[in-house]
């Protein structure tokens, strides 16, 4: 007996309710937009500048006491939060202290860090500081630019590649799916206010890669079926292609999610935000390559006569003997 995620022969009509799918996506995008405008992103120090200090102690942590000793230091806005994680030992009490960016281009001064350490050591002699990170406003500003640039560069490069290998309608469909995924991911980061830092940009770009991976596999099958069934209406060809690749789409999503989930649960709190972004991205990416990319393709229409292209660009890897 084999474990099967879907029956071996499926015949779902993915486009019968295309208005519903598009509506759902538009509503989600709308709420993401509202959340991004109203609540904004919870930028980490990479993008906002400032300092985070991670403290670790075997004693129980009282955040208000921490605050009481740190406030007189005159370092501006200080936020202190306790970190809980299933991977911590019983006597491992972790907090995150965040200090806003100081004036000037510099990262925090030696004296400021020392004063925080001394103040906290007074109330808890066992305290340790396993992580101190400080980013000056000058660098954080540049990191924002680089991050935005990276995302646009990735989308642009991929748009170009798909246009080269397929047709422009495919490229637009794929990019629409991509933008959809990135927007929804940023939306959820804004809604639950997870820290948004440089690592999340890496996650977003990975989502770009993953979502494309899915979309391209579907498109590849669409192209093949367009050659095979020259007279079939486009929506039927699309439906057939998505059904044929559905089993693979789900298999890959599940294996990737298995790996990511174990990392989410067991990988520790330092990369949890990063892994969360990827899990969400895989879910949304799978959805969008089935429902969004295809629908856009259907809407834009596609050139039906592929026979001439067989010889050249459509099949440039066909002669690789594997």
């Amino acid at each position: 007996m084999r474990l099967k995620l879907v029956r071996s022969e499926t015949n779902f009509n993915f486009f019968k309710k295309w208005k519903l799918w598009i509506t759902i996506s538009l509503v989600l995008i709308f709420f993401s937009g509202v959340s991004l405008v109203v609540m904004g992103l919870n930028y980490g120090i990479d993008f906002r500048g400032g300092t985070t200090i991670r403290t670790e102690s075997s004693l129980d942590v009282d955040v208000s006491r921490y605050r009481k000793v740190l406030e007189p230091l005159g370092l501006g806005d200080i936020s202190i939060s306790e970190v809980f994680d299933p991977t911590f030992r019983d006597d491992q009490n972790v907090t995150q202290v965040r200090i806003e960016a100081q004036d000037g281009d510099q990262s925090i001064t030696v004296q400021a860090v020392l004063s925080v350490r001394e103040a906290l050591s007074l109330i808890d002699p066992n305290i340790k500081f396993p992580l101190v990170e400080s980013v000056g406003p000058k660098v954080s500003g540049e990191l924002v630019t680089v991050a935005i640039w990276a995302i646009f560069a990735a989308i642009g490069a991929v748009l170009f590649y798909i246009w080269l290998r397929f047709e422009w309608q495919f490229a637009l469909g794929a990019v629409a799916a991509l933008v959809h995924d990135i927007f929804l991911t940023m939306g959820i980061f804004s809604t639950i206010q997870i820290k948004f830092d440089l690592a999340i940009i890496a996650a977003l770009l990975t989502i770009v890669g993953y979502s494309l991976n899915d979309t391209v596999v579907v498109f590849d099958r669409v192209r093949e079926n367009l050659r095979k069934y020259k007279k079939k209406p486009l929506d039927e060809v699309l439906n057939l292609s998505i059904n044929e690749t559905l089993s693979r789409t789900l298999m890959t999503s599940v294996t990737t999610l298995l790996a990511l989930t174990s990392l989410y649960v067991l990988g520790g709190d330092v990369i949890r935000g990063f892994v969360f972004a990827m899990i969400w991205g895989v879910l949304v990416g799978t959805y969008s390559s089935v429902f969004i990319a295809g629908t856009i393709l259907l809407y834009l229409g596609v050139k039906r006569d592929w026979s001439k292209r067989l010889a050249n660009s459509g099949n440039q890897f066909g002669d690789i003997e594997a």
């Binding site: 084999r2 474990l3 670790e56 281009d105 510099q106 990262s107 925090i108 860090v113 020392l114 500081f129 396993p130 992580l131 101190v132 400080s134 000056g136 660098v139 680089v146 990276a150 560069a153 990735a154 490069a157 991929v158 590649y161 290998r165 440089l198 690592a199 940009i201 890496a202 770009l205 990975t206 770009v208 890669g209 494309l212 991976n213 899915d214 391209v216 596999v217 498109f219 590849d220 099958r221 690749t245 693979r248 298999m251 294996t255 990737t256 298995l258 790996a259 990511l260 989930t261 174990s262 990392l263 067991l266 990988g267 520790g268 330092v270 990369i271 890897f317 066909g318 690789i320 594997a322």
Partner: protein
């Protein structure tokens, strides 16, 4: 029919074996690491006298390259510093002023009286009383300029002169500034490298980033503060003539003089007025060692080179009975009175040092002064325990995720699932082999990249297996179905992986630090997973097929 040439089989097997050999040292990480250290220490070029105990034997003929652990896994300090290159302009303008003054004085009857206007914008402003002679004065100063020693713009001069009302404004030309910035950056890099090497930690990274930034990563150092005080100090040592003692920091030092506070901050700072031009500077030092003075308190013993010794000898013999100041970064360490002429070229600096301070100061003096100050833009300290926790958590997560996928693949594809699983294990081995060979750095997001690759690596196999299933439905023979499965899935596999590879490349080009680490594992993972899916699984299936000759297969 289902076939593969013998040479291809050998090549695939060879690749896998080489991969295993290169990945192997990582299994015995700690041992191989200490072996490498002891081997390095035993090299004749490494004569710092350090001996490392080596209790582990690693065969010399085997590769001993390891995956480097990033700062977030090993612990250490990371600093991004910006060098204030403009500071050098001011110093050079100060040096230019005596020459400019002499040249203009030679034409005093035409130019009139001359006076320097104080600025600090990398400019030299000279006021002349006879406005009509501005043009002449401009030409005199231009006559002092030198050709720029730069390859890009041959023929340009290092100075530009303009005028503003009755003032001459002397500035460095753009090509000269570029050349100067470049020199400043190179010197800074060299000096930071020397200072960090003096501390002797493992594999520090010291890189220039962009026009004027330096990235410093030192694994194993306790905190960024420690690193900052080591490299953040300019450590410019000078010996200067004392004009008088000053009562407060507000006192006007007078022209040609400067006012510096004492180094000792504890009980009531003292202030000194010194001659601005130094008698001898740190450039003339050839050695500095921590030691003790006659009272038994920590001090720094130093020695001058012949030029410095001569200058110092002449100065001390002419000024017996008057004080001179030992100045470090605009602070007077001490101002002893000269009792005798000091001719030997060696001496002792004693201030109110602690042992640590005298050791650090001698390190700084030996390594030389930084040409300009630095601003720290970014700093990160990661404790070694946090790094170890991350490694442990990452390891467990990888193993669990891996097992889940192995089970899932077996349940979904049976025997073919086992084939895919073997390829998946080989895939992970190959990733580690490649990481070791290119000497890449594994970071925490890098581990996530590996986990993601494990998840996605099965994708290519899934594509093939699903395709084989489809081909089997149209009731071709099993051999034909397998062959068609591979053939038809190929274009999807390549398209899908190339697009992901593009994003990995962009991440690599744009990102830095941990993100770059992530992009490397992701990119290499894509390469190895395509190889293992297209070649390794296929070879396994073919070998199985040749033996079993099944009439019917179930995928």
């Amino acid at each position: 029919m289902l076939q593969m040439s013998a040479i291809k089989r050998v090549l695939i097997l060879l690749t896998v074996i080489i991969g295993v050999v290169f990945a192997a040292p990582n299994i015995f990480y700690k041992n191989v690491e200490s072996y490498n250290d002891s081997f390095e220490a035993s090299l004749p070029s490494n004569s710092n006298g350090k001996t490392v105990q080596n209790s582990f034997w690693w065969p010399r003929f085997l590769p001993s390259g390891l995956v480097n652990l990033g700062l977030d896994l090993r612990g250490g300090a990371h600093l991004l510093a910006e060098v204030n290159v403009e500071e050098v302009y001011d110093d050079r303008m100060d040096a230019l002023w005596p020459d400019a003054r002499a040249a203009l004085r030679a034409e005093r009857d035409k130019v009139g009286t001359i006076r320097r206007v104080v600025t600090s914008l990398g400019q030299l402003r000279i006021k002349i009383s006879n406005k009509d002679a501005l043009e002449l004065a401009e030409n005199i100063i231009l006559g002092l300029s030198q050709p720029v020693s730069s390859m890009n713009l041959p023929g340009s001069r290092d100075l530009t002169v303009s005028s503003d009302n009755d003032e001459l404004i002397v500035e460095f030309s753009e090509p000269e500034k570029l050349a100067m910035n470049d020199r400043t950056m190179k010197q800074s890099l060299e000096i930071i490298r020397r200072r960090v090497d003096e501390v002797g930690t493992r594999e520090p990274t010291i890189q220039r980033q962009g026009e004027r930034r330096i990235l410093i990563q030192v694994p194993g150092i306790g905190s960024a503060d420690e690193l900052k005080s080591l490299i953040g100090t300019t450590a410019r040592l000078t010996f200067q003539e004392v004009v008088r003692r000053a009562s407060s920091s507000n006192e006007a030092p007078g022209s040609g003089n400067v006012l510096y506070p004492s180094y000792d901050k504890s009980d009531g700072r003292e202030f000194y007025v010194l001659k601005k031009v130094a008698v001898v500077a740190g450039e003339d030092l050839i050695d500095a060692q921590p030691g003790f003075d006659q009272n038994g308190s920590p001090s720094v013993n130093f020695r001058f080179n012949p030029t410095g010794a001569k200058k110092f000898g002449i100065f001390t013999s002419n000024n017996v009975g008057s004080p001179f100041a030992i100045v470090l970064d605009s602070e007077v360490i001490s101002a002893p009175v000269i009792r005798d002429a000091i001719m030997g070229g060696s001496g002792q600096i004693s201030g109110n040092f602690s042992m640590e301070e005298s050791t650090e100061l001698s390190v700084l003096l030996r390594a030389g002064a930084l040409p300009a100050g630095m601003t720290f833009l970014e700093e990160r300290t990661i404790g070694p325990e946090l790094g170890q926790d991350s490694i442990d958590a990452g390891k467990i997560a990888c193993i669990v995720g891996f097992l889940l996928i192995l089970v899932f693949m077996f349940l979904s594809y049976g025997l073919f699932g086992i084939f895919a699983n073997i390829a998946l294990i080989i895939n992970v081995v190959l990733i580690f082999a490649l990481l070791s060979i290119v000497g890449a750095t594994l970071t925490l997001p890098g581990i996530a990249g590996i986990v993601l690759t494990i998840g996605m690596a099965v994708d290519a196999n899934v594509l093939v297996f699903e395709r084989i299933r489809e081909e089997l439905k149209t009731s071709k023979g099993p051999a034909r179905a397998i062959e068609l499965g591979y053939e038809k899935a190929l274009s999807a596999i390549l398209d899908a992986n190339i697009t992901t590879f593009i994003t990995a490349v962009i991440l690599f080009l744009i990102g830095s630090g941990p993100i770059r680490g992530f992009s490397i594992t992701l990119g290499l993972g894509i390469l190895t997973s395509v190889f293992s899916a297209i070649y390794v699984t296929r070879l396994i299936i073919i070998m199985w097929f040749e033996r079993a000759r099944p009439k019917k297969i179930e995928v």
